[in-house]
């Protein structure tokens, strides 16, 4: 929706890149665009073509679980919301035999003779966001898919649980449409499986399986669900907690086993599997769900050849840890699952990061090709007149009109006070209707508009823009939601739905009459950033913001830059971490736009997005700086618990200590014959509730490094779940091949340290042998996890909340992973959550992109819903300032008295201040007391009508 509306995003569908030439900054791209056979400017997405299309085809969007037509749209909210003809299936296009769709299409949008088109584009940079491909069906067939109808893929189940899916959300098994009572989820289908050439871990299946199992359980509370894991890999932020909560809430059984064999026995599916104690089991299920992994995108190979982009041996884009978003071709970037299997938040981070990459490359031409929309000046005279309200009632095709009598609603609206114009329209949001709307507003000199249609959440911005085009203030519109919250939910009672629609329209009209024009507030922005923290995240973020053309203050508390990365001596990719760090530091320190403050702390941050003022304190004295945004890259620290003799015995190390040993000649490591590593010492429940995400990779990496140098030494890794997600699974496999011994322990029976004189040993229970082992540990290496840094202080200074675990809480876990609830403040790296270096560097760029947006615009525009304090009435009690969750009210001295004042740029318009002001001195733009009270009063007529109806009934009786 949003992408569909931006004047600076041109969506080109059904298109493929054929050729690319040129160099960074100046590429020429040739596109091949297949015909849609429907004119997007004419199509109103009414759906008549689909209704009348006689050709049924299997519905790919619904995972082939149902049928659709050759003339169709994949789903109702698709962008662009334009139907298309399926070339391969359409009778007309294949056999010239039918033209029903063209006959029934009201706006004549069907174009049978549309031809493929070639288009040449000039661009400065290219982003490859090809996503992921599908695991071939042959792989699934090994588990009975295709052979036994009740073996489903996870994506098929996703469609089954969807309320607008083929079964309207009913979970049934395909063989007999019965509700399955026992369901099994099989993990690692097409992942971690070298036999199908997918040796990597797909990184998302453990989470989605848990989500799907939970959704199924909501639909079928009686169902019993078992999940079969090789390892439970829920390493993302907050995922362990969510996983455990779901298991507890729904009573799922989690079983550690290799993927079971699937057979059909009678009407049920038999699973044969071997648990870790070596025992074979056989259980029966009604339905089996395959948690299918993510494959490399199908078109990657052809495209990579065309572009000269290197792929890794699995067919994903090849990147380096130091530059996770860059391909080998300068100017061509990569993001999302094509860079390696990943979930939504990680994809969003990379998408934002890649925007920073392009923005760095093209900084000098920013804005050159952007389109700025101009609006006519507001007709203030008209706005001052008595309300002249226009009411537009939308059919939304049959979505509303199929239930609500829209003509009746429009007639009724005409009788309401202040209404001078009413009309019912087929699709209020289609471009031609919007143009008409502008005309009608002008012709009828309307100064207030009510749109009775869908939700203001999705469509109000669109209509606000239309008002601006008509020369009206965008605040002068009110929507009545008669689709989502009326027609759709009262489909069985058209009469009552029509009454409700009338009431909502009456309430909207009452409010509209009291709407006042609100000034779109623009606050100018100081074009510089403060980056707090000089570790990998801070360095990369600072560099990216500076490369995009803005001043940066980089503040590091310690005397040296580099943070935790200084202690890392190797990477799985073979890259040199110290080289990466040196490069970063060199670039940062020599950058003309970056000022580095070492040995400095940030003391006081005040202000709001665009205009912050901070005090930087160092020994020599303090300095006050002004900046527009803040990036928090405060890092994390190695957790060093007093467990297993850490800190007491010199032969007990952390993984980071070991990294130093690995660089040394001689020393403890060379003398040790047997090295034991213990995972999750502190993480996942002991001291830290969460998974620290990178320890498993780090242990595997260090174990491999030991084996490479000293092949004869014994290395044991005691773990709970090996979380070598994505391509680091390769290293896990390699380590096993190299002779590293991996043993799983359960949290109930943790390994124990045994000291015999000077010798150390670790006692651990081996499930396969069924007995306790005593492993000699000449060197004991602990994976201790990552604790939050000193986030608490900064969180108080900035008023940005922390999670229960002490990391910064992002504005939205999935879609806003680097933004904080406080505007103008962004987070990256370990300050956000534990993560490996490549993810930190990508996230740092994401934060840099988000931070650069207000800097690039030069102003912050605030929706006119903010609070305004009438300082003549304000008694300076300060309740509002105290209560404001966004720190958007400050107390200022006006004359001798304290008065409240809204910081417009920080205000989110929640109105807590207004509802608590004891003297009613605060009004909310668009949601004034007056307007809401008018709505309540208008609600009263509903009561009266009902009462009348009742008394009539009683009389009749």
């Amino acid at each position: 929706m949003e992408a569909g509306r931006s004047p600076n995003i041109e969506i080109i569908t059904l298109a493929e890149l054929k050729e690319l030439s040129g160099k960074p900054g100046n590429f020429k791209a040739k596109l091949h665009i297949r015909p849609r056979y429907v004119d997007p400017l004419k199509c109103t997405s009414c759906g008549m073509c689909t209704t009348y299309c006689p050709k049924e085809v299997v519905d790919e969007y619904n995972e082939r679980l149902t049928f659709t037509k050759a003339a169709r749209i994949d789903y109702a909210q698709a962008v662009p919301t334009v139907y298309y003809l399926d070339e391969k299936e359409c009778l007309r296009l294949q056999h010239e035999s039918c033209q029903l769709c063209a006959n029934v299409c009201g706006p004549n949008a069907i174009v049978f003779d549309q031809q493929p088109e070639e288009r040449e584009l000039e661009v400065g940079a290219v982003v490859l966001a090809l996503g992921f491909g599908r695991v071939p069906e042959e792989v699934l067939e090994k588990y009975g898919y295709g052979k036994y109808p009740d073996v489903l893929t996870s994506l098929e189940l996703e469609r089954l649980t969807c309320a607008s899916g083929p079964t309207e959300g009913e979970v049934i098994r395909p063989s007999d449409f019965a509700h399955p009572q026992r369901i099994a989820f099989l993990q690692c289908i097409g992942s971690r499986d070298v036999t199908c050439d997918n040796g990597y871990c797909s990184s998302v299946c453990c989470m989605y399986a848990m989500k799907e199992a939970s959704v199924v359980k909501e639909h079928l509370p009686e169902a019993q669900i078992d999940l079969f894991f090789m390892d439970i890999r829920t390493q993302g932020k907050g995922f362990d907690e969510a996983f455990n909560r779901a298991v507890e809430k729904y009573g799922f059984r989690t079983i550690y086993a290799r993927v079971p064999r699937v057979d059909q026995v009678g009407r049920r599916l038999a699973l044969t599997y071997v648990t870790e104690d070596g025992k074979t089991h056989r259980d029966f299920y009604d339905m089996v769900v395959l948690s299918v992994g993510l494959d490399a995108p199908a078109d990657a190979e052809v495209l990579s050849q065309r572009l000269g982009v290197e792929l890794n041996h699995y067919g994903f884009a090849k990147t380096r840890v130091a530059a996770p978003l860059e391909t080998n071709v300068p100017g061509i970037f990569v993001a999302g699952a094509f860079q390696g299997p990943k979930d939504i938040p990680e994809s969003v981070v990379q998408a934002q990061g890649v925007a920073a990459e392009c923005s760095e490359l093209l900084a000098e031409v920013r804005g050159k090709d952007a389109i700025h929309k101009e609006f006519p000046p507001e007709d203030e005279e008209l706005e001052r007149l008595e309300p002249r309200i226009g009411v537009f009632v939308c059919h939304c095709g049959v979505n509303i009109a199929g239930v609500v009598d829209v003509k009746e609603v429009a007639r009724y609206a005409a009788s309401l006070p202040g209404v001078v114009y009413t009309e019912d329209v087929l699709y209020s949001c289609s471009q031609d209707t919007l143009n008409e709307l502008v005309k009608k507003i002008r012709e009828n000199r309307l100064n207030r508009v009510v749109i009775a249609a869908c939700s203001p959440r999705t469509h109000e911005p669109l209509f606000q823009e239309t008002l601006r085009e008509a020369g009206l203030n965008p605040a002068l519109i009110e929507m009545a939601n008669i689709r989502d919250q009326c027609a759709w939910v009262h489909a069985e009672d058209p009469e009552a739905a029509t009454e409700k629609a009338k009431d909502q329209v009456r309430m909207a009209v009452a409010k509209a009459a009291r709407l006042a024009p609100l000034e779109l507030q623009r606050v100018s922005v100081t074009p510089s950033a403060l980056v707090i923290g000089g570790g990998a995240a801070g360095l990369q973020a600072a560099l990216s913001v500076a490369n995009q053309g803005f001043e940066v203050y980089l503040v590091e508390r310690e005397a040296e830059l580099g943070g935790n990365l200084r202690r890392v001596t190797g990477l799985l990719s073979g890259e040199k971490p110290q080289k990466i760090l040196e490069d970063l530091i060199k670039q940062v320190e020599s950058h003309p736009k970056i000022r580095v403050y070492k040995g400095t702390t940030v003391e006081n941050v005040s202000g709001y997005v665009g205009n912050f003022t901070s005090t930087l304190r160092r020994e020599e004295g303090s300095e006050v700086i002004n900046h527009g945004v803040v990036i928090l890259a405060t890092g994390g620290r190695e957790h060093r618990p007093e467990r297993f003799g850490l800190g007491e015995n010199e032969r007990v190390l952390t993984q980071l200590d070991l990294e130093a040993e690995l660089e040394r000649r001689g020393g403890k490591l060379s003398r040790a014959r047997s090295i034991v590593m213990i995972q999750c010492v502190g993480s996942r429940g002991d001291d830290l509730k969460y998974c620290s995400k990178l320890c498993c990779q780090q242990a595997v990496k260090n174990a491999l490094r030991i084996k490479k140098r000293y092949p004869k030494k014994d290395v044991y890794v005691l773990f709970r779940d090996m979380r070598t997600y994505s391509f680091s699974e390769d290293a896990y496999r390699e380590a096993r091949k190299a002779g590293v011994i991996f043993l799983r322990y359960q949290p109930e029976s943790k390994p124990e340290l045994i000291t015999k004189g000077k010798r150390l040993a670790v006692k651990v229970y081996d499930a396969l042998l069924g007995e306790e082992l005593l492993l000699p540990a000449d060197l004991l290496v602990l994976s201790v996890g990552i604790a939050p840094g000193e986030n608490e202080e900064i969180s108080k200074v900035i008023k940005a909340p922390l999670t229960g675990d002490g990391f910064f809480l992002e504005a939205h876990a999935k879609l806003m992973p680097v933004e904080l609830p406080v505007e103008g403040v962004y987070v990256c790296g370990l300050a956000h959550a534990p993560k490996p270096l490549d993810e930190t560097l990508a996230q740092a760029r994401a934060a840099a992109a988000k931070a650069a947006i207000p800097l690039a615009k030069g102003f912050v525009e605030v929706a006119p819903i903010v609070s305004r304090v009438d300082q003549a009435r304000c008694i300076g009690c300060g309740i509002c300032a105290e209560l404001c969750p966004y720190g958007a009210i400050e107390m200022v001295k006006v004359g001798k008295r304290k008065k409240a004042q809204t910081i417009t740029a920080s205000c989110k318009g929640c109105g807590i201040c207004a509802s608590h002001c004891p003297v009613l001195a605060i009004s909310m733009g668009g949601f004034t007391d007056e307007a809401i009270l008018a709505q309540i009063e208008a609600f009263g007529a509903f009561v009266e009508r009902e009462a009348e109806g009742k008394s009539k009934e009683e009389k009749a009786a």
Binding site: A3, A78, A129, A337, R366
Partner: protein, 59 residues
């Protein structure tokens, strides 16, 4: 001398990654061609039933 570079970016792929990159690039002052091989953008995410409560990604 004015730079000869183009201020436009080509984003290949209209899934959540491509859409997010396009939105941020547009916000940063670039013109974006968002190219998708299917008939609509949204990618696999549009096929998911529930990912998070608001479902306001590309839709």
């Amino acid at each position: 001398m004015a730079s000869k570079k183009s201020g436009k970016v080509l984003v290949l792929g209209g899934g959540i990654t491509g859409v997010q990159a396009a939105l941020d690039l547009a916000d940063l002052g670039y013109y974006v061609y968002l190219v998708e091989k299917k008939a609509s953008i949204g990618g696999v995410m549009a096929q998911l039933d529930k990912t998070f409560p608001t479902n306001d990604c590309s839709i």
